[in-house]
């Protein structure tokens, strides 16, 4: 399961968001970057120690897609509609990546 690859895509998007000119969007993006990093850390550590099994991790990676959409709506509400579209595109990439990890 390529968790690191998926999370790096998420991080890259938020790094791009962080460069946004709008301060409140940047603040939200920074918050979302840190939040994604913390989630990634918990998953990677739990996977390394064997405390988190594959089913649990898969469930959480699927949650990432929904969190991205919710964050996209939050940012769109702040007035950055292009970013909303970008997040939707990234969500599609992540869904594809998840599907690829689940192939035998």
């Amino acid at each position: 399961m390529n968790i690191k690859a998926i999370l790096s895509v998420i991080e890259q998007v938020f790094i791009n968001l962080f460069n946004s000119e709008k301060q409140k969007v940047s603040e939200a993006a920074l918050e979302y970057i840190e939040s994604a990093k913390e989630r990634a850390k918990v998953l990677l550590e739990g996977a390394a120690t064997g405390e988190l099994d594959t089913d649990f991790i898969k469930q959480k990676i699927l949650s990432e897609k929904d969190i991205l959409l919710i964050e996209g709506i939050a940012i769109a509400q702040m007035g950055e509609r292009d970013i909303e579209q970008t997040l939707s595109n990234v969500a599609s990439i992540i869904i594809g990546a998840i599907a690829a990890t689940q192939k035998p």
Binding site: S35, L52, F56, K60, D66, A74, Q77, M78
Partner: protein, 136 residues
């Protein structure tokens, strides 16, 4: 020329009215959501530090948080221009119910699983709160 100016004003007013199409909020709604976030964090934090990590011990807390989410779904179903916010709550509810069902199925969650659930729930609560606050 006057017609063109008149038309421009109409278009401008129409554009402004579109931009203003956001749901209304108030401090009570924001406080209610923030309390829901705190209750979720408290649930997982208590389970992490407690020796008792059984689902049954935390069932009533899960149900209280579900009630907050359900009431926000009802609110957003009924208020104007809140289609996307309704989607936010529905997505959160779907995931929260999965986390609860997983706890129920496993009966006991270990610390790493509880920590992950806590972080993921915060990942849902925070942008939802940001959305609501941006309406002010």
């Amino acid at each position: 020329m006057k017609k063109l100016l008149f038309l421009s004003v109409i278009v401008c007013l129409f554009s402004c009215s579109i931009l203003r199409h956001t749901p209304e909020t108030n401090d009570d709604i924001i406080t209610y959501i923030e309390n829901g976030k705190a209750a979720t964090h408290d649930l997982y934090l208590r389970a992490i530090i407690s020796n008792d990590k059984r689902y049954d011990t935390y069932k009533s807390e899960y149900k209280s948080i579900e009630a907050v989410i359900d009431s926000m779904i009802t609110l957003n179903t009924n208020r104007k221009y809140s289609k996307k916010m309704l989607l936010q709550w529905q997505l959160f509810k779907n995931n929260f119910l999965l986390y609860e069902a997983d706890h129920q199925k496993r009966k006991i969650l270990n610390v790493a699983q509880l920590q992950a659930n806590d972080k993921y729930c915060l990942g849902f609560w925070n942008p939802i709160i940001n959305t609501e606050k941006s309406l002010k």
